[in-house]
Each structure stands twice: as C-alpha cells, then as structure tokens.
Symmetry: C2
Subunit: 398 residues, 2 copies
C-alpha cells in the first residue's frame, strides 16, 4: 500500500483544472480538494494530465541503446534483416536483459506505463531473449507493466525446432503467442497458422501476429486468420500487428476484411510507418475496431530511427493518417493510450475514479498542443507514485 497523494491543479485531457486524490495506488477522487494532513501534494501548475502511454508493439530485447553505433549496411529484403540480426546478436553483445531494461526505463521516462513486447525466440538463442525481458519485467515492475509475446522472428517451420522453443516460452510464462508472415517467411500459411493457433489453444493465451504481407497475399493470410479465430472461438483474443494489407487502396479487397475483423473483435496494432500502406486509424475506429500503436524496433540492426517516445509516435500516427484537426489529434493520442490498454486488456486503465493511478502530466495549452510539442518536461506516475520527472527516472525507494 502506497501513501496518499494529491495532484493539485491538473487538467484532465486539457479540460478545466481540478484535483486528483490518489489512495492505495488508485484514483480515489477527481474533484476540487483540500489538502489533508498526511497527504503529500504534487502541484500540477495547471498542466494537462492523461492516462499513462501504452507502448503496444516494440521489441525490448534487441535495441542497441548504449552500445557503439551500428553502421547499417544490410540488404533490402526482410530475410536480409532477419538473418543479419540473428547472426550478429551475440557478436554485437545485444544482451536482452540489459537492453530491455534500458529501453523500459527510457519508455517510462517518456510516460509509458504499459508495454507489450514481442521477444525473439529461435533455435540459436533459445529463451535468451525471453528470460532477459522477464528479468527486466520483474526488476522494473514498479515503474512499468511489461507483457511478453513469444515471437518466432526467424520463422517457425523453416527452422525446425523453433516450435519447441515457442512452446517452452509459453510454458515459461509469456502472456501472448506471436507469429510472422505465414506466406512470406514460412511459405506455409496453413502450417504456420495451425501451429501458432495450436499454442494459443494449449496455453489458453491470445495471439498477436506480425503481418507485413501486402495486398492480396496479406488479405489471404488475414482470411486464414479470421477463419481460425472464428472456428476456435477466439473472438476478442487475436491481434494483427502492422496489417499492411488493410491499407491496400482497393475497397473490394479491404471492405469485406474490415467487416470480419470488426465482427470477431480482432485488434489492429500499427506503427504508422510512412513508407508502407497502413490500416487507416479513423476507418478502424469507425468500424469499432481496436487500433493500438507502437514504436516497433528502435535503434536496432533493422533501422536507426525511433526513440521509444509514444508521444512522438502519436505525432507520427497523426502525420501518417493526416489527422490535423484538434479532435483528430486526440484520436492519434488515443492509439497510444486507451486503444493500447484495450489491446492489452488492462482492466483498471483510465482517468476515472477507481482506475489505477498510472498517469502522465505534461505542459500544454490544449491537449493537441501537448501532443505536438512532446515536451521533455513530463511527470510520470505508476500506481500513484512519481517515477520520472523532467526526463529523469526516479526509482522508487521500496
């Protein structure tokens, strides 16, 4: 049980100023309050408060933060990047426990209170990544909640023995089963999907599959996923990361898919890449589809960009989706907050009495300004305790 805290003079989502009383790590009351004896006070100075940012798709285990600069000379294909990374991971000293802690702390400082991380599983490294990220999850659980997706980055069937390591990862406690381009990488969509859905059934866990496949090929794979989701009664338990095929400019291809994705409550996770087709945020929301956002890999052997800041991701979502009006900027932020929480099924998430006090306080005249400014002067609360201030992590004393 943590001490009570009164956040005085804060503006929820940029609305009128009020106070937020936190008791037992939860939001006890949102109303003008008078400081009581024994209740610590944090002056909000009229700043804006939003629920904590949700990083819904990243790869904590394999960033290069704090390591010497990696000069990227990798070839253009997906398999070039996959094989280059797997072959160089140990040589480059990409130690999952250390690297995931670096990224998790950085994400927390930016305001993330929840992270879903895909974590590599392959026959060369076994559970190295899973164990490393689990160590970080346990060591830093007072600043951020981390959920693990067992992710067959190098393919499942093309590298025999991988399914057994995936099984071991689920046994070790991963919360979500991952998958990857059933046509493009494994070249055996039925085999790949039967295998990962089988893991979901065996462990009673949800699925979050990377689907980069574009156009008709991606639509085919998505159709196979839809078929299995329905047949196995997994409504609400499947997520598609990337889902580039849903960005195909062909309503005849996309519209029927969207209808079924909505009917089966399949969630979409986007990183809003500028150079690829993407599922449109407004279209997904209008169809009632959960659409969360993530950084994807940051500063890794794949790509030098990205800093793990989910407010910057909100801006990139806004730019990619041409969200210019203030009400549209709010939608961009939603993909990095409430939509991510829906994906991760965080029950007590939000800015309402009873919710966990996972909060981000940041300057701005309006919510839209706070988002586009991405000020480094942020205060981050996890379960009612301030865990970062102005870019500096404050490890709680307990």
């Amino acid at each position: 049980m943590t001490a009570s805290l009164l956040l005085r003079d804060v503006r929820p989502f940029g609305a009128a100023a009020t106070d937020i009383l936190i008791e037992n790590s939860r939001i006890a009351r949102i109303a003008p309050a008078i400081a009581a004896p024994g209740v610590a006070v944090e002056e909000g100075r009229g700043e804006i408060v939003v629920p904590g940012l949700v990083e819904a798709h990243t790869h904590l285990d394999k960033n290069l933060l704090g390591l010497p600069w990696y000069v990227n000379e990798v070839g253009p294909n997906l398999l070039d990047k996959i094989d280059n990374e797997r072959m160089n991971k140990k040589r480059l000293d990409i130690e999952p426990a250390r690297q995931s802690a670096r990224q998790a702390v950085r994400a927390s400082v930016f305001g993330a209170t929840h992270i879903r991380s895909h974590v590599d599983v392959d026959t060369e490294h076994g559970l190295w990544g899973i164990e490393g990220v689990m160590a970080t999850r346990d060591a830093w659980r007072d600043i951020v909640d981390i959920e693990l997706v067992a992710f067959p980055q190098s393919g499942l069937l093309r590298r025999p023995g991988t399914l057994e390591v995936m099984d071991a990862a689920m046994k070790a406690g991963c919360e979500v089963v991952g998958g990857l381009d059933p046509c493009g990488i494994d070249r055996d969509p039925k085999g790949h999907l039967d295998a990962i859905f089988g893991l979901c059934q065996r462990y009673g866990k949800p699925l979050d599959i990377h689907l980069h496949e574009p156009g008709e090929m991606g639509a085919f794979s998505l159709d196979l996923i839809i078929e299995r989701t329905r047949a196995l009664g997994m409504k609400g338990k499947v997520a598609i990361s990337h889902a580039f095929c849903l960005g195909t400019p062909d309503p005849a291809l996309v519209d029927p898919l969207i209808e079924q994705v909505a009917a089966l409550d399949i969630a979409i996770v986007t990183t809003a890449p500028a150079s690829r087709p993407v599922p449109a945020v407004k279209r997904m929301l209008a169809a009632g589809i959960r659409i969360a956002a993530g950084s994807d890999g940051i500063r890794d052997t794949w790509n030098p960009y990205g800093n793990g800041d989910m407010l910057e991701r909100a801006v990139l979502v806004g730019l990619r989706n041409n969200l210019r009006r203030d009400d549209e900027v709010r939608l961009a932020l939603d993909t990095c907050t409430v939509e991510g929480a829906k994906l991760m099924e965080v029950a007590d998430y939000g800015l309402a009495e009873g919710c966990a006090a996972d909060l981000l306080i940041l300057p701005g005249e309006t919510l839209a300004e706070a988002v586009v400014n991405r000020s480094p002067n942020r205060r981050v609360l996890k379960r009612g305790r301030i865990v970062a201030r102005d870019g500096v992590p404050l490890r709680p004393a307990t």
Copy 2:
C-alpha cells in the same frame, strides 16, 4: 569583416577530427592547426560539423508561434483550408513581420542558415506578407539568409486582381515567382501557367510552383510546365514543390516525366508527407535531379505539426523514403543541406575551403546518429560567427 575563429577538434560529416580556420566569414583552411594570437578558439570537443541546414520550403509569414493555440476545426478540402486561413488571418493577428521573425530565429537555432519562404500574395492582404517577411529578412540577415517566393495562395485567376499584386511583389524584390495547382485551384492551367511564366520572363526570375495535383492531373500540369520551361529557355530555373504526381505508382506515367525533369534540370522540393504519394529521393538523385526538403507550414491554421527543425525533417524524409542504411541516412540529410543549397543557387555553400562559414556543430558518434538523435545541443555559425548555442540564439553584437 569579422574576426578570425578556429574551430578546434571537429569532425566534418563525422570523419576524422580536424580543425577549421575561419577568416573573413569564410572557411580559410581545413587542417590540423595551431592557435595563433588574435584568433579566437571554439573547442569542438570532437563533435560533428556539417554545412548549415537549408529550409527549402516553408511559409514564414503565417505560422502561429507564440500566439494562443488555434483549435483546428477546418474542413478536409484544400479550398476549405485556403479560404479559412485568408478569412481569419487578421482576426487571429497573424502579423507577418512578427511571425516570420519568430520562425526565422527558431530555424536558425535549429541550425538553418538558408530559408526559401513562399509568402502569401492576395487581393485582401496585398503585400502585407511580403513586406513583413522582407522586414525579417533585413533585420535578421546576420543569422540567416531568407529568399522570398511570391505565392498566390488563394489562386491567381479565380480572384481577379491577384496577378497585379504578384507583379507588385516581384517589383518589390521577391527572388522567385510562385504558383499553385493550375488545374485544381485556378481550373485554368493554360491561363495560370502563362501568367506565372510571364512574370518570370518580365523579371528574369526563377519559378517555384506548388503542385499538389495527384496522378494523371498532376502529370498533365507538369507536362505543361515542362513544355514552357523548354520553350522559354528556362532550363535550371524551375522548381516543383510537392510534385505528388511523381509519386504515382505507375512507371508508364512517371518515367517519361522524370526523364524530362532531369533533362531540363527542374528541381523538386519535398516535405516528405507521410499521408501522400511523394517523389522518391533515391530515384530523383539517381536521375540527377536536385531534390531539396522543407518543413512546409508549421503550426498554422492548416496543421498543428512541425517545429521548423530541418534535422527532424531529415528524419521524416528518411522515414518516408525508408532510408535505413547509414549511407541512406546521409542522403536524407543531403536533402536538408546541399540539395537545398543547389535549389537556392547558393554559390559558396559547403564544407570546403573558400566556402562561407555557415556551419552546424552537433554531437554524435557517427553522422547517422547525429541525424536521428536531433540533439538540442547544437552550435550554429553564420558567416563565421556563432549565432546559436544549445537552443539559445546569440544575437551578434554588430
């Protein structure tokens, strides 16, 4: 004539450390040097030095920097945004002299040493914008070079009298003639293009036309521009801003256009928007076409995004064009440096002996890291004098 300055221990483009001696506002020597009496020394601390950033496409006259937050509720069409802005400019107190100075100083602090600004010209505001930006150009010429494009934002022929104001703007000293979507806005491509090319001929000035028109319509307008460029002997004197039509995924449409754009040395200016088709940077460079980059409008009635940082623009160019390898990140930076200087025909631009000492010094292990990090800890030199340090403008004493 300015005092001599020795930049000690800097790494040109991230290469080995050396010294740069600046005399008479120019780079006198790039070689290990010994400090001489009377020569001030700036310690580079092994940081990276590049030539100053070039903002090749912005709208200095109409940002909202420092004004109350503008709640954007504007409709989705280009004409909605155009009319909304023109009708609200005075009500919102968007005073061009003040606003352009705010943006110019901010751009300089980020490292820009050259700016090409399109400036609104219309029958309601006359030369208000032109005179304001010229006042800023004159008042701040010791920190940044500003070039003006007379820009008929509200259309040329659809609003009679605009051509006369354009003529007056050129007479007042604008360096470049502007134009806008000859089909989409004026709905009279022949009339629009004949008018603006006529101004070019009358004043002996180059052209930089906004061309948002997509696909076949844009290709048609571009073809008309090519025809006039050739007929009037304006090779090397025409630029197309945006040029979305060159991003059309149809080689049969695009390839012949690219060939002629290259043959007539027509320059392309991109803002690398994530939500529109764009001319591909590598494709343009491979064809020998100059391709510069710009911020477009920042924080205005059109759009809340953008901060005027041309290093952030380099990252957005990199993301939009999927430039991941270190040698590709360098190309993204080139669009924000040397390619912009080529567009603006800056004769003495670069990191070589004899060039103007317009420089940016910034931390980073490699050039790619310096770009993706976008550190606020930058030092900016204009004509051999340090004009900004760590985000703070240092107005020279003269």
